[in-house]
């Protein structure tokens, strides 16, 4: 529900309240149709006049109306205007229904300025809090997915993992591309603390990003400001767009809202590997032999260390020694067992995820002030054993009208996030393990998970399936996954406080001044463990980080009517921002001396010196904004800002940037002639935003590696700083059209935009031959241009039944148009599997390069051995992770108290490289690596030739589609037995990286909720309740369409620039279903 705002009061008090001679008094009460509460601040007008008043705190009003008056209109932002005939009764009670599409609603814009939608000359999309929480997503940012044109959200499937948000495309080649988050005027950090290695799929944990520390139930609205014209007032960090979160405000009276919810999640099996069941352990189709039982006869035993299934063909009549013969906890200890595929494959490893999401909000107030207190608790247990992330958020906000002119307000948001056993991501980290890498890439299909669990539980030891050989109890490459999850867990805590104190002094009717201090404070501790007894060297590390950001603002707001038809609003402000990040990372060296003791002192070898960081940044900004309105029809909006940043060289560290926007509400002209046009506006704008470097890119210094014994070492850093950096700049333009028809039953918004980010401050990759492999330079231009469409229609809207469809569609085209002179490509990150992400002139950013097929006349060339020919270098573009378009469609159907809502989220195009497939196919795990070939023989059978060289009828091997070097159709069989290479014909050994690139499109049923609201009459009978809502909610219930086999194309290791279009150790999607009850008092 939208709450009244001071500005509305301001507007309504401006109305004339002339009492006329022959008048009578009408009184009544205006209430919210849904909640039944009184609505304060509603404008009550005698139709056709300027006579009117506003409702009081409880929604009541009294108005003297002339005898001639026939109708009263009741209007309020966010509600459908109601016209009520004046009868003979002196009382008129009205209930208003909320209308989120009301076009004159108030929109919170940059620097918390509230403006009517009419006056906006740029795109700003408002998402109501209840839309964000529709499916009870504990992460408010994920709740935006599919709902806003121009916003691309990519969620990860890990527990508490991070969410990548891009607004209108990637702008910065190596810098931050995430939007700025502002909560009630407080810029808050959305940083993730994940390591570069983690982000590039190398292993680690995804600790999530900090915007998830917000209590979703505290959100009143989220406003997405997309273009620079909308955001320029926020300064350099706003170049990527701004997500403004307005929290709920206390209101008159006392209200209590309680949400209690529980959801359960199971993996979506379409996003997990499906194993072949024909061949078991081995790098090649043979058993090892040794006399194991001491009978003097050699016994067959499997290739114990092989983390692959390119071994012998299963045969239930064959008894062999397998891993379980050597693990005391197994039923088969010391015994041979049948050579068959496991009954319980790794899908049985996953548990049911469980989330408890509860919140309480208490709010209240009177003429002197308001307060609000909220508490949100989320207990999130993941699909992996021993995984849990808890979040507790307390928020308080209050305001006090010290005098009629002076208001003091404060808000504070405290959150504690504690994680234990987050999922390891990526390939493999020094201190993290990802069982998905194990299951998807390196696995023996004969290993039964239940038996593995028993083997672990027997003595609680690392009873691995992957022994290094007969005479050792050490694992080769992989631990027992149950043991790993139980023993090698991480723990983390993040304590965070953000909030502000502000004073607003209303000096005159046309001028007020705001002084505000805001603080965002994070304290992180992350501890990672690799248990004693692991395959890799055991260890413990800890990372402590404190982050502080303080902003000091002084903002004067002006509001005046310059001439009869010309309005003016403006602001003049100054901002000081100070950021400090201090961190230290330390790890044991050479392993843990004793088990289960996780302290740095338990290091076997002396510690490698801890890595310290001490980063201080400061930016000062002064800014001004002026908006001129003519007849509420034409609006001109001008802004200017100058920043001075500590991170640039003195003399080059201040930069100025302007914006201009013009809007024309043409429906004001057609009100009479075309009543079917409820609303129409065209607008256009141009804006620039300057931005500075990150800290410490200017001055040079030297690295200090770990000492060699008693010898100190020094080294020149691999990246060269640059004392001549200058600010970078984003120039953007936008044209938009908004229209609504038929009493706003149907409407749309369309935007066309282009932005160019020039003179980028990038750490450009250089040839190591210059002595550095990176150098900070001002170079490169990235262009984003795109179209955004969003619309809504209510095909049915009557008293009992409404049906509303919302849809949005975005197409963003990204191009790197320029790099440094003479450089046509730079590598942004390198990944396992021989692929890189790149910025290439003329291509979309983050294009993926690797080894390609060789083509002849559009067909893949096959070599004389039957395998595809690979390109001579790994420098060919093989994938592009940028989608062609994204969109979302939601339907809301309400019948009396029942409402059904569902959202379908679509991503079309873009490609993804799957390391899971590259290795998994190599090691013979997925179904297609086995089965029959074109001759009807097992494809893994050896190739057999007749005497004349032709293939025998019983030949194995596969014929790959393509042509031979001379252009003729390929008829050569490729060996798929693994006899020579230890790999199948389908994997990374035999194929270039391009063979593992897939379309990343998807269509997902993202959110679903079915809500029943108890009739008020009924609810009120229960202990003073105002309402009860029961909901069934579901998230990610169905991937309707995708082309990436065995995985979720959306899953990513981390937020940020890295890792887009790269899938390794991917976690399956989780289908979540649950229930929620909402009680309001």
């Amino acid at each position: 529900m939208r709450q009244f705002t001071p500005l509305v009061i301001l507007l309504t008090t401006g109305l004339s309240q002339v009492a006329m001679a022959q008048s009578r008094s009408i009184s009544g009460r205006v209430t919210d149709q849904k909640s039944g509460e009184g609505l304060p601040g509603v404008t009550v007008l005698v139709k056709g006049t300027t006579l009117g008043t506003g409702t009081g705190n409880d929604g009541s009003f009294t108005l003297n109306v002339p005898a001639s008056a026939t109708t009263l209109t009741f209007s309020f932002v966010g509600y459908t205007t109601v016209e009520q005939p004046i009868g003979t009764s002196p009382t008129i009670n009205v209930s208003l229904t909320s209308d989120t599409k009301q076009l004159n609603e108030v929109v919170v814009t940059a620097q918390n300025v509230e403006r009517t939608r009419n006056s906006l000359a740029y795109s700003a999309t408002v998402v109501e809090g209840q839309q964000v929480t529709a499916a009870r997503n504990p992460n408010a940012i994920n709740g935006l997915s599919g709902k806003v044109a121009g916003v691309q959200i990519r969620q990860s499937n890990t527990l508490g993992g991070s969410t990548n948000i891009l607004i209108r495309g990637t702008k910065s080649i190596t810098g931050n591309n995430q939007p700025l988050f502002v909560v009630d005027g407080v810029p808050i950090s959305n940083a993730n603390t994940n390591s570069t290695g983690q982000q590039t799929g190398g292993g680690g944990y995804d600790y999530g990003n900090a915007a998830s520390d917000i209590n979703p139930d505290d959100i009143a609205t989220m406003t997405v400001l997309k273009g620079a014209a909308a955001t320029a007032l926020y300064g350099e960090r706003a170049g990527n767009g701004v997500i403004l979160i307005t929290t709920k405000k206390g209101r008159q009276g006392l209200g209590i809202t309680i949400n209690g919810g529980i959801t359960a999640g199971r993996i979506d099996k379409s996003t997990f590997i499906k194993y072949q069941k024909e061949y078991g352990a081995g790098y090649g189709p043979y058993f090892n032999q040794a006399d194991i039982n001491g009978d003097g006869i050699k016994d067959d035993y499997i290739q114990l260390s092989a983390d692959a299934s390119v071994g012998p063909r299963f045969d239930p009549n064959l008894q062999v020694y397998q891993w379980n013969a050597f693990q005391p906890g197994s039923n088969h200890f010391g015994q041979k067992s049948a050579w068959v595929a496991a009954d319980n494959d790794p899908t049985t490893f996953f548990k049911t995820a469980l989330t408890l999401n509860n919140s309480v909000t208490i709010d209240g107030g009177n003429e002197k002030g308001t307060f609000k207190l909220g508490y949100n608790s989320v207990i999130d247990k993941g699909i992996l054993p021993n995984s849990q992330v808890n979040k507790n958020v307390i928020n308080f906000a209050g305001s006090l009208n010290i005098t009629p002119r002076l208001t003091a307000s404060a808000s504070v948001n405290f959150s504690a996030v504690t994680g234990k056993g987050r999922y390891g991501t990526g390939y493999s980290g020094t201190y993290s393990e990802n069982q998905m890498t194990n299951f998807r890439q390196w696995w023996q299909t004969n290993v039964d998970m239940k038996e593995l669990e028993q083997a672990y539980q027997y003595e609680g030891l690392n009873a691995t399936w992957n022994l290094n050989g007969l005479n050792t109890d050490r694992g080769a490459y992989w631990n027992n996954p149950y043991w790993s999850r139980a023993k090698s867990f991480e723990t983390d805590t993040r304590y965070r406080t953000f909030g502000n104190v502000a004073l607003t002094y209303k000096a005159t009717d046309w001028f007020n001044i705001l002084g505000r201090v805001t603080l965002d404070s994070n304290d992180d501790l992350q501890e990672e463990r690799l248990a004693y007894g692991s395959v890799n060297v055991s260890g413990y590390n800890r990372y402590n980080r404190t982050y502080r950001e303080a902003n000091f603002d002084l903002i004067g707001n002006f509001k005046a009517r310059i001439a009869e038809n010309v309005s003016f609003t403006g602001l003049l402000g100054a901002n000081l921002r100070r950021q400090s990040t201090r961190s230290i990372y330390a790890a044991t060296n050479g392993g843990l001396a004793i088990p289960d003791f996780y302290a740095l002192s338990n290091s076997i070898s002396p510690l490698i010196p801890p890595t310290e960081a001490d980063i201080q940044q400061a930016v000062d900004g002064v800014f001004a904004n002026a908006t001129f309105g003519y007849r509420d029809m034409v609006f001109l909006d001008l802004t200017a800002r100058r920043d001075q940043s500590s991170t640039l060289p003195k003399g080059n560290n201040s930069y100025f940037y302007p914006s201009a926007a013009l809007g024309f509400v043409f429906s004001e002209l057609t009100k009479e002639t075309a009543p079917w046009l409820s609303y129409g506006k065209v607008r256009g704008n141009y804006a620039e935003v300057g931005s500075s470097a990150s800290a410490y890119n200017i001055y040079s210094g030297f690295d200090k590696p770990t000492p060699f014994g008693n010898t100190a070492l020094f080294s020149v850093p691999s990246t060269q700083n640059n004392a001549n950096l200058k600010p970078e700049r984003t120039k953007s333009a936008e044209i938009g059209l908004e229209a609504a028809f038929l009493n706003s039953r149907i409407g749309f918004e369309a935007n066309v935009y282009q932005s160019n980010t020039i003179d980028q401050i990038i750490n450009i990759t250089t040839s190591g031959a210059i002595g550095y492999t990176g150098r900070f330079v001002n170079a490169g231009t990235v262009r984003n241009r795109g179209v955004e469409l969003s619309g809504y229609v209510s095909p049915i809207r009557n008293e009992n039944f409404t049906w509303t469809i919302n849809a949005n569609w975005t197409k963003n085209q990204n191009r790197v148009t320029e790099l440094l002179n003479g450089v046509d490509n730079i590598v942004l990150a390198s990944y396992q599997g021989g692929v890189t992400t790149n910025a290439t002139v003329g291509r979309p950013i983050n294009s993926i390069r690797g080894q390609n097929f060789v083509y002849r006349d559009g067909e893949r060339v096959v070599r004389t051995n039957g395998y595809y020919q690979k390109s001579p270098t790994s420098n060919e573009e093989i994938a592009n992770p940028n989608p062609n378009w994204t969109g979302g469609v939601s339907n809301t159907l309400s019948y009396k108290g029942i409402s059904l809502y569902f959202l379908v989220d679509v991503r079309q195009g873009g490609t993804i490289f799957s390391l899971d497939r590259a290795y998994g196919l190599d090691t013979g795990l997925p179904v297609e690596t086995a089965g029959l070939n074109d001759l009807g023989n097992p494809s893994r059978d050896p190739i057999v030739r007749n005497a004349d060289g032709t293939y025998a009828a019983n030949s194995g091997g596969v014929i790959f589609a393509g042509v031979q070097a001379d252009g003729t159709r390929n008829t050569v069989r490729a060996d798929n037995s693994g006899e020579d290479s230890g790999a199948t014909a389908y994997g990374t050994t035999a194929n270039p990286a391009a063979a593992f690139v897939y379309d990343a499109s998807f269509v997902k049923l993202r959110e679903l909720s079915l809500t029943y609201s108890l009739p008020k009459a009924l609810a009120s009978k229960i202990g003073g309740l105002r309402g009860i809502d029961f909901s069934i909610v579901g998230r990610n219930l169905w991937i309707i369409h995708k082309n990436l086999p065995d995985a979720d194309p959306e899953d990513a290791a981390s937020s940020g620039n890295y890792g887009q279009g790269y899938s390794t150790g991917a976690y399956p999607a989780v289908r979540t279903l649950g229930a929620n009850i909402r009680l309001s008092f």
Binding site: D291, L406, N468, N471, P705, F708, F714, S767, V823
Partner: protein, 505 residues
Amino acid sequence: MKKSFLILGVAALSLTSSCVSNLGDDYNVNPKLAASASASGFISNAERTLVRTVTSSSVNLNPLRFYMQYWAATDYPTESRYDLITRNIPLNYWNALYRDCITDLRAAKAAVPNDIAVPAANKNNTLAVAELLEIYAWANLVEVFGNVPYTQALDATNLQPKYDDQATIYADLITRLDAVIGKFDTSTDIGTGENDLIFPGTSAAATTAEWLKFANAMKLRMALVLADVDPGKAKTMAEATVGKLPTSSADAADLTFDRTVPNTNPLYEDLVYSNRIDFVGANTFINPLKGIAGNATGVPVTGAVDPRLDDYFNQPTSPDVPAGTYAGGNVGRTNNKETLSQPGDKLRAQTLPGVLISYAQVELMLAEAVERGFTVGGTAASHYNAGVTASIQEWGGTTADATTYLSLPTIAYNTAPGDYKQKIGYQYWVALYNQPTESWTQWRRLDYPQLPLAASPLNGVTVIPRRFTYPASEQSLNGANYTAASAALGSTGDNVATKLFWDKF
């Protein structure tokens, strides 16, 4: 009211008093990055990087133990099948030498004049050490890649340095080497004292004299690299080293590693610390060491066990393999870790020295020099015997072991089969077991032993690589110069099969 003005006033005051322009100059200086550094720190770091790079067994950096068929892979044979691309081996090697070694040596040279830790009298020697190591690194780059950026390299203002002709670079390096040999002042030590990692010490004899011997050994080595293409120059160079070369294994240019990660011998990391079994001996190498026929041509079948076999390799771990057995695997294929021999315990020690030039190598080079008609004193046989003896002793063998071995008819210099290239080439191969980069270069010069191609080579490779291809990133970061360099390599261009200028046969 008063309070409100106070707060607004404080806010206003803070806006004006602590502006960015008033923050100190050092506000943007990273307090956790050293502003100055010691010359010895740079030199020691470069030494560490250089030695680790050329002796590494990491599949991301140095696959030459596979190419020389000392080792075969167990489960993951890709790199042994000559795939340089997937793991970006050329880029890692290139960066290690350019960025992590030579750049630090340049920084050392810049730091020496003002480094108070280096006494004035020793500054020239310290500079000479940095220069000598730089020459070694450059020579290695040329011997691995061919044409490389040289005259325009290491200039951070020129992001696209041109490649220079390999023979021209090599000639310049020899000029620089001669200059640096003349620069060492043997009356004083090298100035970095115990901090030096290769020749630590505080006396002229322990440091400067050793560096000078190393410099001459390098000169002999570079002479032999040129021997097939410029025998005249090679002869002059080689003969100039007479009497100045290392005379015992104590003079070897090697770096004794530390007991603690990350400064242990890189082999320790790959063979022990990783807890992995990625490598077993190759039958190409183990069979001759066992005295039986292998699959390489030009290798003696001695019928006797090489005294280094049990140092180079361990016996297989499988309980079924009889004691005293050694067995090698097939290069290019997957191999059984239990029934085949893994690299020996001596290679697994943290502190095992990494060798740039060994004494055994010096003697074998002298033997070769004699055969090439260079007047370096002694006979080919005497140097051959000294080299083989030194190698056996380096690995813990006795003089008696060496004598027995050298008396085998297929080993004794005068009776062993084949020409000097075959005889000395085989001994280089065996002696340089733990100097894979050096071994590869000697093998490319002498073409002995004639190693078979690994099973199922990848990427269409048809010969054992004679060079590394350029890093793939050079094509996009330095495209025009890359294209020119590739063309200058000859008709086969930037290909592993392309022979470098000195690799005539």
